[in-house]
Amino acid sequence: MNEPAHRPFGPDDGPGRIAAADDGAPALEARGLGHRFRKHWALRDCDFRLPAGRICALVGPNGAGKTTLLSLAADLLEPTRGRLRVFGDAPSTPASRGRVAFMGQRKPLYPGFTVAEMLRAGRELNPDWDHATAERLVRQGDISFTAKVGTLSGGQRTRVALALAFGKRPRLLLLDEPMSDLDPLVRHEITAALMSEVAEHGTTVLMSTHMVSEMDQVCDYLLMITGGRVRLAGEVDTILAAHTLLSSRHRETDGPPDLASHIVVSTKTVGEHFSALIRPQGPVTGRWARHEPGLEELLIAYLRAPDSTPLLTASARVEASEEAA
């Protein structure tokens, strides 16, 4: 068998993907979206957009509502409040069902089926089935078509699940923690396979993940949810540029007073070392070492301060005028 095609990928893949999104409707648009399980609101008052052609990391602590959001987009759940649109259509419409592929966290496959039978299941249930793509993904993983799915390793299982998802020719691919149970090498292979298919087909991807450091180079869009509410949404670059990480040696316990004019996301004091992640609202004064935060630094700062003021970039915002309608 051939070696899996390891393709370098990065921001350069961006324009090709964006060009593939033909009409103007965003891949996802939530307005006042809320979902309640019995008495607990898993998602609440969510307003955001995910433009087509993006690869979006969906981050947040456990129980933040990530799986709920993905399930709503996949029509596995119905919103309790508000609405969600996938390329302009409700998730329950036939058009939307055909455009969305979902891979659950446990990568469910029918027990007792062989790999070939799993692909046949995909073909039987999807009119636009792309057997060549599905087979290619399986072959690249050196997986036997006659193997029972129960005997596959975690990486092989993920590959078959991905093959099922891509075989559907989705325009929006929803992945719930796709890499969580894989070792680093397999993670790298699966990521490479995923990105190469995404680049080829122009698929929009929304994937929940805890592997922030690894998603850094893959995702160009970010959606952060804490406590069922959207905290951050937008282009990774824009969001990072909107923040500054400040640090200094400081003796005062209550922090330096000259941060009051900025939005302070979180502060941290380790010994005499004080640091703060801020959204500058003007020139930053004072004797600070300052630099733009990395994605991981940013996310950890937000996870530490879940109640901070939300930030949505222009492309992630829904217009207020439409909202009233």
Partner: protein, 352 residues
């Protein structure tokens, strides 16, 4: 690149019928259960064919056709011995067959949806291009069709076996077997058990729990069905003013054993009537329970006379009620089946 190569050999070679779409998926998912059922059906068919041919040969050899149990004709005296030869195997096979709905409910219905909900493939099934309503329709429909065909075959085989001897087998007309094993009732019972098991599994989301609860519900349902059975058709009542001595020892009707007091025109001699209840009648037309007087003794006869007993009454279903009651029962069961199915579809679309 190998991507353009045709399907691998494993996809091309298929055994069994050529199915497609959801029909293929559902058949493939449950094929071991379906094949097990079909093999058991084949074994049962072979068994019935051999048993029946022996029985029919016996009826011909002893010229028993048209006899009823304890009929006065001399040629029919052999009926007792005939019953001794063939009753047990038919009766116990019937008992076994009456477990078919329970087995279908527990082993096919119980895991049908709960297994997909437990292992997460429910999300896989429901995120393909087919609508969820369509999926649940096939998920219930394909096993229902297999159940319909399989249990119809079982019921037809049992009916076919039983009918040459229906009047020869005392006590084998109205009771659980064969009433629940012939005609449409076993088919309706099986369909109800299937969808009930599936609906329970959908709510509980755990196969083992679903199977246990389905089993319990099936047993309770079975008791309920048998309690309901006498009420399915208006009961016929006879009263007689003459107390005779030709009591044949029919099944004891609810403790009201009436020795020497059987209405003469009650069609119980053929045992094709189902005697539900009977008792004494006073001159004012009231029913009188013999408990106060006891039975069988000279004293009780005196006591009955003292209580103004002048006759007897009996409530029964004649043989002609058998098939109307079958259809009423099947209709009720299918109505409940439709309701449970509607619930399952609603739950699949909005709750699961």
């Amino acid at each position: 690149m190998s991507a353009t190569s045709p399907l691998p050999a494993t996809v091309r070679t298929r055994r069994g019928p050529h199915l497609s779409g959801l029909t293929w998926l559902i058949w493939r998912q449950h094929r071991s259960a379906f094949w097990t059922g079909l093999v058991l059906l084949a074994v049962f068919a072979a068994f019935v064919v051999t048993r029946r041919s022996g029985m029919v040969a016996d009826i011909d050899a002893h010229n028993l056709a048209g006899c009823v149990y304890e009929s006065p004709e001399a040629r029919c005296e052999e009926v007792n011995a005939f019953r001794g030869r063939f009753y047990d195997v038919m009766h116990y096979t019937g008992l076994l067959v009456s477990f078919v709905p329970l087995v279908i409910g527990v082993f096919l219905g119980g895991p049908l949806l709960s297994r997909e909900l437990e292992n997460g493939t429910y999300a896989l099934s429901c995120t393909q291009s087919v609508s969820r309503t369509r999926w649940i329709a096939f998920k219930l429909g394909v096993p229902a069709l297999v159940t319909l065909i399989g249990t119809s075959a079982v019921a037809a085989l049992y009916t076919w076996w039983w009918q040459p001897a229906d009047t020869l087998m005392k006590g084998m007309y109205w009771y659980e077997s064969p009433f629940n094993n012939v005609g449409v009732v076993p088919v309706a019972l099986s369909l109800l058990a299937l969808v009930t098991g599936a609906a329970i599994g959908m709510v509980l989301r755990r196969p083992v729990a679903a199977m246990a609860v389905t089993c319990a519900v099936a047993v309770v349902g079975w008791v309920g069905v048998n309690v309901l059975r006498p009420l399915l058709w208006p009961v016929r009542e006879v009263t007689v003013d003459r107390i005779t001595a030709d009591y044949f020892g029919s099944p004891i009707p609810l403790g009201h054993l009436i020795p020497n007091a059987w209405p003469t025109d009650l069609p119980n001699k053929s045992y094709s009537a189902w005697n539900l209840d009977s008792g004494y009648l006073t001159s004012s037309g009231d029913h009188f329970t013999s408990g106060a007087c006891g039975d069988f003794t000279a004293a009780s006869a005196k006591c009955l006379k003292a209580h103004d007993v002048v006759g007897a009454w009996a409530q029964y279903h004649p043989a002609s009620h058998f098939w109307p009651m079958q259809w009423v029962m099947a209709g009720l069961l299918l109505a409940v089946t439709a309701a449970v199915t509607a619930f399952a579809v609603w739950w699949a679309r909005h709750r699961a």
